[in-house]
């Protein structure tokens, strides 16, 4: 069955993408699964330079979710290209590099560098990391900031440019529209929700960073709504994510309007989730007689619901 989807000039063999920061640099998982079977791999957010990130504790579990404040620890773009890309290329992974800058210039610089790297298939602009001040969130929370980063990066790369939007805004559609108008090939949403957990016995935050980003099934209904809103507003593809843990969740995002989806937290719970999600989607397509995923994306039926004979 053909489950391929198009994101700008890029064709993914299926709509399942490993979410950035939840799949290391991809190489960590190459013994666990064949990473070439994924639609794509969004690698951990990269800055130009190496970063140590926040001190631990960096995560804490919450009702049906988790909070993280990793602080974008990473090896920096140069070591990534030298140490990780060769294996990713060799394994045939579709690499989407998630880039973070503290300045507009840094995004541009990263985009320039990565555009010449064989095997890099797209750039995801992380303008939405909630737990470091410099993490581009300053850009991602405003229409102008988003437009500035996207158009600046657009100018220097032929790679698909995919700004990743934060849900911590009053109106995500205005940000999505700004991204589209600035030349984005797609938008991905959502990043995590700024949140916190307190240990009442010690009266201290459970994360060293005090606040962190909420992910997992808990946020799914909000993320689905945002994908739906953006689908109504923009024409470019929406890559949806936020709490996907089953094939049903993948379908929910696609019906709401996602062209592809990313899975983060659920990959921690089950690193072998990918084939399960894929076969679940396939079975659904067969059962509903759908030929391509294009028939599914945005197919939400908002006409009045008739009653079913539910209990018989």
């Amino acid at each position: 069955m053909n489950l391929s989807v198009r994101i700008g000039s890029l064709t993914l063999k299926n709509p399942l993408i490993a979410a950035s920061g939840c799949f290391g640099y991809g190489t960590e998982y190459s013994d666990v699964i064949d990473i070439a079977t994924l639609g794509g791999v969004a690698v951990k957010g990269l800055f130009l330079a190496e970063r140590e990130g926040h001190p631990p504790p960096r995560i804490v579990e919450t009702p049906a979710g988790m909070l993280n404040a990793i602080g974008l620890q990473g090896i920096g773009v140069h070591r990534f290209i030298a140490e990780k890309m060769p294996e990713l290329r060799a394994r045939g992974a579709v690499v989407i590099v998630n880039i973070c800058g503290t300045t507009l210039q840094e995004y541009v610089e990263l985009a320039r560098i990565l555009s010449d790297v064989e095997g890099v298939h797209a750039l995801e602009l992380n303008i939405s990391c909630p737990n470091i001040k410099e993490g581009g969130i300053t850009f991602g929370c405003s229409v102008h900031g988003t437009a500035d980063v996207v158009s600046a990066v657009r100018k220097v790369t032929k790679l698909p440019v995919i700004p990743k939007l934060t849900p911590n805004v009053t109106d995500i559609t205005s940000i999505a529209r700004a991204a589209e108008e600035a030349g984005a090939d797609a938008v991905s949403l959502v990043n995590t929700f700024l949140a916190m957990v307190i240990d009442v016995e010690t009266r201290r935050p459970r994360l060293s960073n005090i606040v962190g980003g909420l992910s997992g099934p808990a946020i799914r209904p909000i993320a689905v709504r945002m994908v739906y809103e953006c689908r109504q507003t923009i024409r470019i593809p929406v890559i949806g994510m936020g709490g996907i843990a089953t094939a049903t969740d993948v379908l929910e995002f696609m019906i709401a309007g996602a062209t592809a989806v990313q899975v983060g937290t659920a990959n921690f719970v089950d690193p072998l989730i990918w084939p399960k999600l894929l076969s679940g989607v396939e079975r659904y397509m067969e059962r509903h007689g759908l030929a391509t995923l294009g028939d599914l994306t945005g197919s939400l039926d908002t006409s009045a619901r008739e009653k079913e004979w539910i209990s018989s």
Binding site: P57, R58, L272
Partner: protein, 267 residues
């Protein structure tokens, strides 16, 4: 290796400690002392994430490995579910994971320092060491006598025991670092000894520093909150000393959980 392991038995050692025997031949076959498994209890959203547990025993039937057991202490949702697990239930186990302990070679001695549930990795390590005829001592501290487990088992294996309890109800009163320090002082520099430690981090720090102070090598198994166990999330980091001096965060799930005591920058 992710296995839906069937619960073979669940032995309650106290009101909060239990040993869970799980059918997992493939994990049992590959597990090395100090390695761990990522455990998902129940198919619900709470607990959402897996939790790391040391392989306590490798279970064998006529010599061939059939499964592993976990020594668990109840502190939250996952360990509650493990405590309440019934024979026949299934527990999802991913592993074996992480860097194991490096065994010493005779005539070096091995001193294992365990704090509370930190005993877990030392059953398999002791077996390996004793099989190689290595002189092995277990320094084992707990809150009270009732929480010192498997003493006979270690003795039968020929492991010398040094016990402490915080309330003095068994062995020496106080923390396990007391007898350890005495032994370190007493031991002639000529006689090599490797110190293995697992337990709460302040204990690990104390042991590592003590070992270093006496010019002894140490291997410590650290406990960090782990989101994935595979190197994917960067939640489990621990600061390591670097040449430039400024600490470097390494992922304890893949670079550890066992580290050289002198590598770690103890807070």
């Amino acid at each position: 290796m992710d296995v839906a392991a069937e619960v073979l038995s669940n032995t309650h050692l106290s009101s909060d400690y239990n040993v869970l025997a799980l059918a997992a031949p493939d994990i049992a076959e590959r597990a090395l002392p100090g390695q761990f498994v990522m455990v998902k209890t129940g198919d619900r959203l709470e607990p959402l994430l897996r939790r790391p547990f040391s392989v306590f025993e490798v279970l064998r039937e006529q010599g061939k490995p059939i499964g592993v057991s976990l020594l668990s202490k109840k502190i939250g949702p996952s360990t509650h579910l493990l405590f309440d697990a019934k024979v026949g239930d299934r527990v999802q186990c991913l592993g074996p994971l992480g860097r194991p302990f490096a065994p010493v070679v005779a005539p070096d001695e091995a001193w294992m320092v365990a704090g509370g549930v930190g005993l877990a990795p030392f059953a398999t390590l002791a077996e390996t060491l004793r099989a190689k005829g290595i002189q092995t001592t277990l320094y084992y501290g707990a809150r009270r006598a009732a929480e010192l487990f498997f003493l006979d088992w270690f003795e039968r294996l020929g492991v010398t025991l040094q016990l402490t309890t915080e309330d003095g109800s068994r062995g020496e009163r106080g923390r396990i670092t007391l007898p350890l320090e005495r032994s370190l002082k007493a031991r002639p520099q000529s006689a090599a000894v490797m110190i293995y430690a697992c337990g709460p981090e302040p204990m690990l720090a104390a042991v590592a520093k003590m070992a270093a102070a006496h010019g002894r090598p140490s291997q410590v198994s650290v406990e960090r909150v782990m989101g994935c166990g595979l190197g994917g999330c960067y939640s489990c980091v621990i600061p390591i000393k670097t040449s430039e001096g400024k600490p470097h965060h390494v992922r304890s799930c893949i670079a550890g959980p066992v580290f050289r005591g002198d590598e770690i920058l103890w807070q």
